[in-house]
């Protein structure tokens, strides 16, 4: 166990120096709602539209964006709960995008998921022992001291009382239920866990407990996280790299510190300016970029840059010629600095936004 922990820092421990997970141009379209009697299909809903990113072993990628931006669908595609419409998902050196369910079986133990709602994602009729032990039984894994001993040590590790092995989910609080979900996901020692809004339903004080637990487990087991959340503060705390999504596409992706200190995409600016900080004086002199209008329909996304219809920069700063480019041309990736990718025709830092957030002192 100790050897595994120390082996983590080198991100290139997978075959041929590849990252653990590498997602290339992955899309997920859902059929439109008007699928008719004669097979006539409506316009597909482009939930995820050509996203690319990679996650190194033992690292955390944060996926942020508003609801409907496709971050949860991306998580489900990675963990193969959904089949991607197109694209390549390389995991541990192999493309798993086209694998059939039977072929996926060995990968199931290596990619696990934690869900948002600790109330509805646990079967109320199963005991904790059954829930946490299920992956062993499904995968047919033999354990040294029997499943029960293994499950109880896992329960202890995530901060649950092992004597509660035979209790049911309703006997636990929200935070404890999320611990059960974590224990289940970790029981087979996966290489990657997709966490879909794992702390959003929890109270602030309990949320911090669960975030700390996830970080401890990551350094102990060397597991990589794809951490999906709408809370930018939590993502800043837990992620090593952060991808910002909007309408099925990635807008900006960078190392955590780079993204939070020098965001370049107008959408990232809008998101960051909207996060309230617990400091009344800062709040009073803060500039807020208010997005106008609603999220456009993912079945009929705007042409060119998908964000241009709500972009403040587009509205207030650009010339007509520049605007025309936003309307007609889909932005390709610009690499501002190594590893800092922006999908915008006119990326630029925004003064006043980040220095307000960065200053440490309260007054």
């Amino acid at each position: 166990m100790i050897n595994e922990t120390t082996a983590v820092p080198a991100p290139a421990s997978t075959p041929r120096g590849e990252p653990l997970l590498s997602v290339r141009n992955v899309s997920k379209y859902f059929p439109g709602s008007h699928s008719g009697l004669l097979g006539r299909r409506g316009t597909p809903i482009k939930a995820v539209d050509g996203v690319s990113f990679s996650v190194d072993q033992g690292q955390t990628l944060g996926l942020v964006g508003e609801s409907g931006c496709g971050k949860s669908t991306t998580g489900r595609v990675i963990s193969k709960l959904l089949e991607p419409t197109s694209g390549e998902i390389r995991f541990n050196g192999r493309d798993i995008a086209g694998l059939k369910p039977r072929e996926m079986k060995s990968y199931r133990s290596e990619i696990q998921m934690i869900f948002q709602d600790p109330f509805s994602s646990l079967n109320p009729r199963h005991t904790i022992g059954t829930i946490v032990g299920a992956p062993f039984r499904i995968q047919g894994v033999k354990t040294e001291h029997g499943i029960k001993a293994e499950v109880q040590s896992m329960m202890e590790r995530v901060g649950l009382n092992p004597e509660h092995y035979n209790r049911y989910p309703h006997e636990f609080s929200g935070g404890q239920r999320q611990r059960i979900g974590i224990a289940r996901a970790l029981s087979l020692r996966p290489k990657l866990i997709v966490c879909d809004e794992p702390v959003s339903a929890l109270d602030v004080s309990v949320q911090a407990q669960v975030v700390n637990l996830l970080e401890d487990l990551q350094s102990e087991f060397g597991v990589a996280f794809v951490f999906i959340a709408h809370d930018l503060s939590v993502v800043r705390h837990i992620a090593d790299r952060v991808a910002v999504m909007y309408l099925g596409k990635i807008m900006e992706i960078a190392d955590r510190d780079t993204l939070y200190s020098e965001p370049l995409h107008p959408y990232t600016h809008a998101l960051m300016s909207a996060v309230p900080v617990p400091d009344p004086r800062k709040e009073r002199r803060r500039e807020r970029i208010l997005l106008t209008g609603d999220l456009p329909s993912p079945s009929n996304p705007p042409t060119g840059c998908v964000f241009h219809t709500r972009c403040q920069k587009f509205r207030e700063e650009l010339t007509d010629v520049q605007k025309n480019r936003c309307r007609t041309e889909v932005p390709v990736v610009t690499e501002n600095a190594p590893g800092h990718e922006v999908y915008c025709h006119f990326p630029a830092p925004r003064a006043g936004l980040t220095d307000l957030l960065k200053t440490g002192a309260a007054t």
């Binding site: 508003e66 609801s67 609080s173 929200g174 935070g175 404890q176 109270d203 602030v204 004080s205 309990v206 949320q207 911090a208 407990q209 975030v211 700390n212 970080e215 709408h230 809370d231 930018l232 503060s233 939590v234 800043r236 705390h237 955590r256 510190d257 939070y260 809008a270 998101l271 960051m272 300016s273 909207a274 996060v275 309230p276 900080v277 617990p278 400091d279 009344p280 004086r281 800062k282 709040e283 807020r288 208010l290 997005l291 209008g293 609603d294 999220l295 307000l356 957030l357 960065k358 200053t359 440490g360 309260a362 007054t363």
Partner: protein, 356 residues
């Protein structure tokens, strides 16, 4: 009214009553397992034009309090005692009919989940004009016109055509705007917003909070904003009331609560949240344990089971004696804690504040 009775607008001690005054409010629910003391001895005052933030975790009694102010516990099995004075009228002892006249007209309310809070079978417009028609003697046509005006005011584009849409045809942010239109159509002087942005994205949250502030300025109404997010409080409120286990544990002006808090629970809340405006911490500092049972409320201080500072108090006082809500460093700042005031202020300055 008999002259021997005191005027309702004046308190027994002769002081003029605040616009909203809650005195020793208790809301208890008898259940098979015992009495759930959701709110236990809550008092506060609010004047028109002020925004009060009530902060607390789930089960701290903040929503139950808001329902009590609207008199919505009437007809349920809840036992409500104490006094709630709204503009000189007492609500707890009033009949259902008397309170009903105040709901919607004098006090409006916005709820957390706008989708489940709107009736799925009626159009958004019909639900808004219904709120107008109950309290105003106008024709349906006039109510419709007023509802459309209100929808425009809360920023819904194409209001006349969106009037006929059903709630499921609105986006989350639009639904909350419609709820605000419904709550404010009769220009109530008290607006209660119960977690109005919790179900919404940050970008939409910013829009909605902006709208609430703007309408508050326009109507000069009193606003109670219930939330678990201290960031939202810092952005919006003038006064803060921190609730824990059905009690007020600390209250004061917003700057006092954020820059000189004195209650260990408030410290815990501030420390446990990851912050964008500070250097990233390697580790968060959660409050240990979980919220208390409201049936077997801890004896002594409600927070003693999770408080890391009980050793700063002599003897076993934290576990045996229930502390009173007493004035802190400044007038208007009240704290329920056994640690002596001077020592609390020192702990904040030397131990808590630097670690944020």
């Amino acid at each position: 009214m008999s002259t021997t009775l005191p005027s309702p607008a004046v308190r027994p001690d002769g002081r003029k009553r605040a616009f909203l005054e809650v005195n020793d409010l208790r809301v208890h629910f008898p259940t098979a397992d015992g009495v759930v003391k959701s709110v236990d001895g809550l008092s506060f005052e609010l004047e028109r034009g002020e925004i009060l933030g009530i902060v607390g975790e789930s089960g701290s009694g903040k929503s139950v309090t808001s329902l009590a102010i609207l008199g919505l516990h009437k007809g349920s099995n809840a036992e409500v005692t104490g006094e709630i004075w709204l503009d000189g009228r007492e609500i707890i002892a009033a009949t259902e009919e008397e309170v009903r006249d105040l709901r919607g007209s004098e006090m409006g309310m916005i709820f957390q989940d706008p989708l489940s809070s709107l009736h799925p079978f009626y159009t958004v417009g019909a639900q808004i004009s219904e709120a107008y028609l109950v309290h105003t003697k106008v024709s349906k046509k006039e109510a419709r016109a007023e509802a459309i005006r209100m929808l425009e005011k809360v920023g819904i584009p194409n209001a006349p055509s969106r009037y006929n849409d059903y709630p499921h045809q609105f986006s989350g942010g639009m639904r909350q705007r419609a709820m605000i239109a419904m709550a404010l159509i009769c220009k109530p002087r008290l607006l209660i917003a119960d977690e109005p942005t919790t179900a919404l994205d940050v970008t939409v949250q910013a829009q909605i909070l902006e709208l609430i502030k703007q309408l508050h300025d326009e109507l000069n109404s009193a606003v109670i904003l219930i939330t678990h997010d201290l960031g939202v409080v810092a952005e919006t409120c003038d006064k803060v009331l921190v609730m824990y286990g059905g009690q007020c544990v600390e209250t004061g002006p917003v700057d006092e609560i954020f820059y000189a808090p004195e209650m260990p629970y408030t410290w815990g809340l501030l420390r446990s949240m990851p912050r964008m405006d500070r250097d990233r911490q390697t580790r968060l500092t959660p409050i240990p344990g979980s919220p208390p049972s409201l049936i077997n409320v801890p004896s002594g201080c409600v927070f003693n089971t999770r408080c890391p500072f009980t050793d700063r108090v002599d003897g076993d006082k934290c576990r045996t004696v229930h502390p009173n809500l007493e004035q802190g460093a400044t007038p208007g700042h009240a704290v329920r804690c056994h640690i002596p005031a001077a020592q609390r202020q020192e702990i904040w300055l030397t131990e808590i504040s630097p670690s944020l």
